[in-house]
Amino acid sequence: MATAAVTAEREHYLNKEYGIRSWLLTTDHKRIALLYLMSITFFFFIGGFFALLIRLELLTPAGDLVQADTYNKLFTMHGQVMVFFFLIPSIPAVLGNFLVPMMIGAKDLAFPRINLLSWYLYVIAGVLYIHCLVTGGVDTGWTFYTPFSTAFSNTNVIEAGLSIFIAGFSSILTGLNFVVTIHRMRAPGMTWSRLPLFIWAHYATSIIQLLGTPVLAITLVLVVFERVFHLGIFDPTRGGDPLLFQHLFWFYSHPAVYIMILPSMGVVAEIVPCFSRKRIFGYNAVAMSSIAIAVFGFLVWAHHMFVAGISLYSALVFSILSYLVAVPSAIKVFNWTATMYKGSITFSTPMLYAFGFIGLFTMGGLTGLFLASLGINVHVTDTYFVIAHFHYIMVGGAVMGYLGGMHFWWPKISGRMYPEWLGKFAALIVFLGFNLTFFPQFILGYMGMPRRYWQYPPEFQVLNVLSTAGSTILAVGYVLPMVYFLWSMRYGKIADDNPWGAAGLEWKTASPPPTFNFEETPEVTWEAYNYDEIPAPAEVVVER
C-alpha cells in the first residue's frame, strides 16, 4: 500500500467537477463537509476574536478597554458563536459528514439533499447572526436568561434567538441523517459490534441532537413570542416562572455539552489504537459508554440551577445523577489508557492531541465533580471556576479532539500530508497556551472572582495577566494549523491511501476518495481495530 502512488489524473471528489456551482449545489457528503469546514472556521475566528477582546479587557483591573455594556455583548457573542456556530457543528458536520458514510462502507449519507439543506440552514443562521452582530449585538449572556432577555434587554435578542433557532434545525437534520445512515446504510458484514467507535460516538451525539435541540427551539420561540407578543410565560411580574425557562433551556444546553464532547471522544478512540498499534481495550464498554453518556446527559440539567431556587430535594437528586455521568466518562479514559498499555506508541501529531484531550478532559471532568457537589457548588457557582471547568471540557476536550481528528484525517480529506514537525510544534503550543489561559482561572474562581464582570479587584491581576498571556499563545496555536493545512493543499507531500497504517474502511479507499467513496461496495469480514493484522507503516511519522 505504501507504494500506491496517486497520479494527478485519477478522478476523485475534489477534481470531478470544478466551479462554484459544483460546490454550492453538491450533494456529495465530502464536499458538504468541506463547505462546513470553511464556514465553521470562519465563525471560530470571529468567536476567537471576541475571546481575545475579553482577555485584553481583563488585563487590567479597571474597566478601561471597553464599556461595561460592550463587555456584556462581547462575552455573550463569544459564547453564542462558539457554542452554536462552531462547537455544535464542529466534529459532526465536518469530520462526521466526511467519515460516517465512509466508515460504514456507504456511498453517501441517507439523505444527501437534506445534508446540503442543513448546510444552507447553517449559512442562513450565520448570516442572520452576523447581521445581529453588526447592528448592535446582543447582551443577554449566551443563555438568554429570562426575564432579562424578554423584558429588559434592549439589544437584538429576537434576531439572535431566531438565528440560533435556525442553526438548531441544521443540527437536527445532521443528526437525523446520521441515525438513518448508521441504521440503514451499513455495508454487508458491518455489524453493530464491528462499527468504529467514532460511529458509536456520532450515533449517541445524533440522538441528543434529535431529542434535545427541539426543546431549545421551542424555548427560543417562546422567548421571541414573549418579546413580540408579551405573553408572560417566563415573566414573574405576570405570573410566569423564569425557572421554567432555565429548566427548558438547560434540558437542551446541558446535553449540548455532550454533543460537543462525544464526537471528540470518538476521534480519540480512533487515534489511540492506531498509534498504539493495538485493538481498543474494552470495545463494548467504550461503545456503550457513549450511549450511557447520552442517556445520563438528559438527566442532569438542573445542576446548572442549584442556586436558582430549586428545592433542596431535587438538587440532591440532580447532584447524584450528575456524579453518575462520571462513570461512563471514566470508563472511556481508563480504556484509552489501557489501550496504550504495552502498545508501541508513536508520538505523531494526532496522538499528541489525543494525549492532550485525555489529560485536559480528565481535569475538566474531575472539576465537574466539584461543581456537582452541592456544597462546593454554592461556593464557586458563577465564578471563574465554572468558566475554567467548561473550557477544559469544550476547548481542552472538544477542540483538541477536533484538531486531532483534522490532523489524523487530513491526508484522506486533501490527499496531502501536513508538515509533521510543524504539526507537533502547534500541538505543543496549543497545549501550553491552553493551560496557561485556563488553569489560572480555576484559582481565580476559587478565590471568588465572579464571571461576567469587566472590572475586578487588583489582587486578581497577576493571574488574569497570566491568563491573557496564555490566550495569545493559544491564538498562535490555532492559526498555525490553518496556515499549514492551506499550505499543504498545494505543497504538501502526496499522501498514501493509508499513511498511518490505520484500520477502518475509510483507509481502504484512495486519498482523496472517489465521489462514491469506494470502487465497489466493501464487504466487512474483520473486527474493528484489528491492528494485530495490519502492518505498521515503516515511516509513520517520519518527514516525507
Binding site: 438513518v180 440503514r184 431529542l211 421551542i218 420561540v221 413570542f225 407578543f229 408572560g232 405570573g239 421554567l244
Partner: protein, 243 residues
Amino acid sequence: MRFRLRRRWWLSDSPITAEQHGPELRHHFATVEQQRDAASLGMWLFLATEIMFFGGMFCAYLIYRMWYFNEFAAGSRSLNLKWGTINTIVLICSSLTVALGVRAAQMGKRKLLVILLVLTIVFGFAFLGIKGIEWYDKYKEHHIPGASFNADDIVQDYPQIHIDQRHEQIYFSLYFAMTGLHALHMIIGVGIFAFLLYYAWKGRYTPGYYTPIELGGLYWHFVDIVWIYLFPLLYLIDRKPLR
C-alpha cells in the same frame, strides 16, 4: 452523464425509469427496500423531534395548569366548544382520507388518490378557517395576550372564585402559542399535500413507489394527534357548571 440525469430526476416531468435499478432508486442506495426503509425511519425520527418540540409547551402547560387551575378552567370555558368539537371531527375525517389515500396509492388507483388528496386539503382549509373564526372571536373579546388583554368578562362570569387576570393571560398565552404552532404545522401540511396532489395528478405514484404519500400521511397523522391532545387540554379542562 447517465448518472447526472438520475441525480436530477426531480427536474424532469416523468419519473426516470433507471435501467439497472428499478424506478426512483437513487444512486447511493443498494435496493428500493433500503431506500424506502431509510425514508420511513427518517420520517419517524423527524416526528420524534416534533414530539420534543411540542413537549416543551406541554411541560409549561402542565406546570401552569397545576398552579393556576381556576384561571385555566375559566379560560377553557370561554372557548367555543362547538367549533372545537367540529374541528376535531374535521381533523379525524382528514386522517381517514389520508389513510384511504395511502391505500389508493398502494393499489395504484390514481383518480381515487387525487380525490382523497383534494378532500384532505379541503378538510385542512376547513380546520384553519374555523380556527381563524375562533381566534377572531378571541380578538374581539380582548383575550389576546399583550397590552390590550382584558379578562374582565371572565372575572365577572365567575364571582364565586378568585381569578387573577395575569394568570388568565398565561392560559391564553399557552392557548395561542400551542394552537398557533399547531396551525403552522397544518399550513405546512396543506403545502405538502398540494405538492403530493400535483405529482399524484401527474401519475408519479405507483404501487411500486408511493413513499412520499406514506410519509406525508405520517406527518398529517402526527399533526392530527397533536390536536387530539390539544382539544381536551385546552377546551375540556373543567366543563362542569359552577355552583
